[in-house]
Symmetry: C2
């Protein structure tokens, strides 16, 4: 298979981890005789520094004409603590999601048997947990109108959803549930929000076409608690943009490290693959960042194009690395490997 | 001291737990020679059933003229699953908060040494955790304009905040930090939301007047993760309405049971005290609901009126009950006591 992959390393640890994924994907191409073509472009704070724009036109253009995007991370503390900054790295990612129509963010979360003891949660509570979160990614309060009054004394963010926006991601989530344990939990705040009530109504309606899937509802506050009390109850979680952001980062504690969690963002035409962790600026250049989340995102990329055998090989290599403790310090404190060494190892196992 | 206390038992387990708190407060009044006068009124689904209104005028009137409100819980599944219901129990609570101007919801969270093993979190991660969450309670997306288009195809919720709304709750939180470990963490999503940027800017500004307090910022997704990874890092958390709802329910896992978590909602003129758990309809009338959250809320009520010795006695009685395992099944699975028995025990220790 021939694939054009846009590589957007971004900020902080983005470049160093993405480099490992590219290495692994190249090894996959070699072994399975595919032709993967990689082209890099700038995004985030890095792009602001050079072009004054977190998503330069050339970058967007490249993503549009590529088959897939491999994304690193973005974010820089110098913008976080400057509430008056007009241009922010995050705008690059948000615009990219919107422009490419990546309406569904898919985040698998599972407990690795070898790592259950590393979680802050008790092993018996998480052992066997295996869920996937479908987060709506191009709507809601992220993209609604924002405003600040002229005197700077009030601000607002609008959260909107349409039936259509809910339906398309809901169908993906129901289908995922059908191929898994046939349980779907909608997380919302229907006792307070009008948009949540639209979600609940629409998802209920769609659910009729998926009779084999058991549909449940949880208020987001309760869900945030249940995620810790009993994560094994979840199979597929479906939720809106902001709740998905919170719940999925929270869920990362189940895996033992946020450095292990991959994600795929898909739309009608495009697909982007990124770790759920951020740019982790404190770690930049130190060789301590875990490349696994990015590499597992690359495995999702392979899956996306039907290269399931290839994806399985990548996942297997990650399992081997965990088995043999060839891990960065977030997982292997005492005798750890660098980001690059872990990448080398994974590449070598392909 | 003479106190008029409005008692709003509400729905589900609300009445049975509130009854225990009233019992305990009466014992306190007896022992310390206070005059507490209790008057009951309807709220929530119960009030809808009788008056078609989740907050009847008479209830609001009673709350206004009382010194404090002791609130049970509201919510009924028959409304949750009917997205088209026009009247909902929650509206009663939300309107009450708004009408009484209860802008700050204060939720202490701590790990009871005796119960650390009951948490889904590892004991070493939570032992010693002790924080208090200041949640803004009358603004944000809860109270902004809501709408559904005529064809029912789109819905929206507006999140707004003014500098004033942020300032008043922030001052309370900073003061709390001064009397505790001098650390305040603002939880927001300033990399995406305009309102969060206003929060960050305003809180930074206010922080200058509290030089002895160390001010930190966390994005809400990261905060949801940190709450589990390392809850001991928190002293006072300040956040907006929706994030506070999610984060504080999540934080309940630290205490070992949501049935232990109390809260106070305060404003310029009024104060309301309620457990953070909901109406727990499945447990109604079974005698298994934990009355402690409500009773500790009553202790916050005593504190609020400067009755610190009295509040300490109530808290001590709870500690004794936990020490001797006189607890409902959420805490004592094997040989548990009923809601009423726990209430009787606590009353007897006063
Ligand atoms: C960087 C930020 C804008 C982003 C989000 O909130 O969506 C991130 O937290 C994520 O989850 O991908
Ligand atoms: C019942 C509901 C409206 C309420 C809220 O979301 O504020 C509850 O969850 C709470 O936290 O007090």
């Amino acid at each position: 298979m021939k694939l054009n992959i846009a590589v957007l390393p971004g900020d902080g640890i983005g470049p160093e981890i993405t480099q490992q994924s590219v290495k692994v994907l190249k090894a996959v191409a070699d072994r399975f005789e595919h032709e993967f073509h990689f082209e890099e472009a700038a995004v985030g704070a890095t792009a602001i520094d050079f072009w004054g724009n977190p998503l330069p036109d050339a970058t967007l253009e490249l993503c549009r004409k590529s088959d897939a995007v491999l994304f690193g991370a973005i974010g820089d503390p110098k913008y976080d603590n400057d509430p008056s900054a007009k241009v922010r790295p995050e705008q690059g990612l948000l615009k990219l999601r919107k422009e490419l129509g990546l309406f569904a963010n898919i985040r698998p979360v599972k407990a690795y048997e070898k790592l259950v003891d590393r979680s802050p949660l008790k092993a018996e509570n998480i052992s066997g947990a295996d869920m996937v979160i479908y987060r709506e990614l191009t709507g809601g309060i992220y993209f609604g109108e924002k405003s600040t009054s002229e005197d700077g004394k009030t601000a607002s963010d609008l959260c909107t959803y349409s039936v259509e926006e809910i339906e398309r991601v809901a169908h993906l989530a129901f289908k995922a549930a059908q191929s898994r344990n046939k349980k779907l939990t909608l997380v919302d705040k229907a006792n307070v929000l009008e948009t949540s009530r639209l979600w609940r109504k629409t998802v209920k309606e769609i659910g009729k076409a998926y009779e084999d899937v058991q549909l449940d509802f949880l208020f987001v506050d309760n869900a945030a608690m249940q995620m810790i009390l009993n994560p094994k109850q979840f199979d597929v979680i479906l939720t809106e943009n902001m709740f998905g952001d919170i719940i999925s980062d929270e869920a990362s504690v189940i895996g033992g490290s946020i450095g292990l969690l991959e994600s795929a963002s898909v739309g009608e035409k495009s697909a982007l693959f990124e770790p759920i962790h951020g740019s982790y600026p404190q770690a930049t250049g130190k060789g301590i960042a875990n490349p696994v989340a990015s590499i597992l995102s690359a495995a999702m990329l392979l899956d996306h194009f039907g290269l399931e055998k290839e994806a399985a090989v990548v996942r297997k290599s990650v399992e081997v690395s965990i088995q043999f403790n060839v891990c960065t310090p977030d997982i292997n404190k005492d005798n750890h490997y660098t980001t690059e060494k872990v990448g080398d190892f994974l590449e070598s196992v392909i």
